[in-house]
Symmetry: C2
Subunit: 153 residues, 2 copies
DNA sequence: AATGAAACACTTCTGGT
DNA sequence: ACCAGAAGTGTTTCATT
């Protein structure tokens, strides 16, 4: 397991906040040269700590602001059934997250659609079209209080 | 509301998948010049469709692979109580997501910690230290089947 | 591990269609 | 909106400590 010093931690925090700054700026804030920053970033990438760099998109601007958490229970829990279900989930673009969880339900999904009507259509033609789904329960998100992609290191 | 053509859609998909490619590469895939790509990206940024560029970090590599969904019910629901609760949530680094939801509970939180012991410590000293929390129910994530930051446009 | 300076690549601007 | 080419800026390599 890779070891971080304080500068690595600060650098990771900055990269998770804004990856488009220049190495010079990171260097200034860390009290290092651009080359030192460059080498630290490469080390974080090669060790697998940083997996990718992405653009984040505002849901409201692309008509996907209606967010639903859906609890799903399967009928059968054989290995094949479970794997088949998970394969189907990966193919459905409206599902942005899917977790296998402990408790009363088997899975919790997060779904992004335009509005309630689009959600109804999604449920009818996409989600419940998957075999082996026993029951579902939808929880609608009224407000997103906090949502960060950054992990505190 | 900004209008997208097919090239904007493809460009957004590529930027959400990997924002560190060069404009030349995006240009090649879209059949445009680097300048045209540059201008389209600037338009997406200025219109607020792209909100930021970030590095994504692998939870397992930074000892934050224990993920819990916690349902929270408040005692009082006056405006001040709610705002106070939401302010506290923003300050707690282990909480990466917080949604105000419909249904039996008021909020659903997503929490990243190292392990069960760290979760226990988090519950005792951070979460339940917030005033006005009525009840909590924790759902442990056994497996992350899908998790993408990309929204289909 | 770190540095400054050189070499290289990419982004951004300009002028024109 | 688009393009080609110039100018500016950032990244990456290298020799050195």
């Amino acid at each position: 397991m890779i070891k971080f010093d304080e500068k690595d931690r600060k650098l990771l925090a900055m990269l998770q906040e804004d990856s488009k700054n220049t190495n010079k700026e990171y260097a200034n804030k860390l009290g290092l040269s651009t080359t030192a920053v460059y080498e630290r970033i490469k080390r974080l990438e090669k060790s697998g700590v940083i997996t990718k760099y992405v653009a984040l998109v505002e849901k409201k601007k692309v008509n996907k602001a209606f967010v639903v958490l859906c609890h799903v229970k399967l009928i059968q829990h054989t290995k094949d059934n479970v794997l088949q279900f998970e394969r189907e989930i990966l193919k459905i673009e409206e599902i942005v997250e899917c977790y296998h969880v402990s408790g009363d339900y088997d899975y919790i999904l997060k779904i992004h659609v335009e509005d309630m009507e689009a959600y109804r259509a999604f449920m009818v033609s996409k989600l419940t079209a998957i075999a082996n789904i026993g029951s579902t329960q939808s929880t609608f998100i009224i407000n997103e209080v906090k949502h960060t992609t950054a992990i505190d290191v």
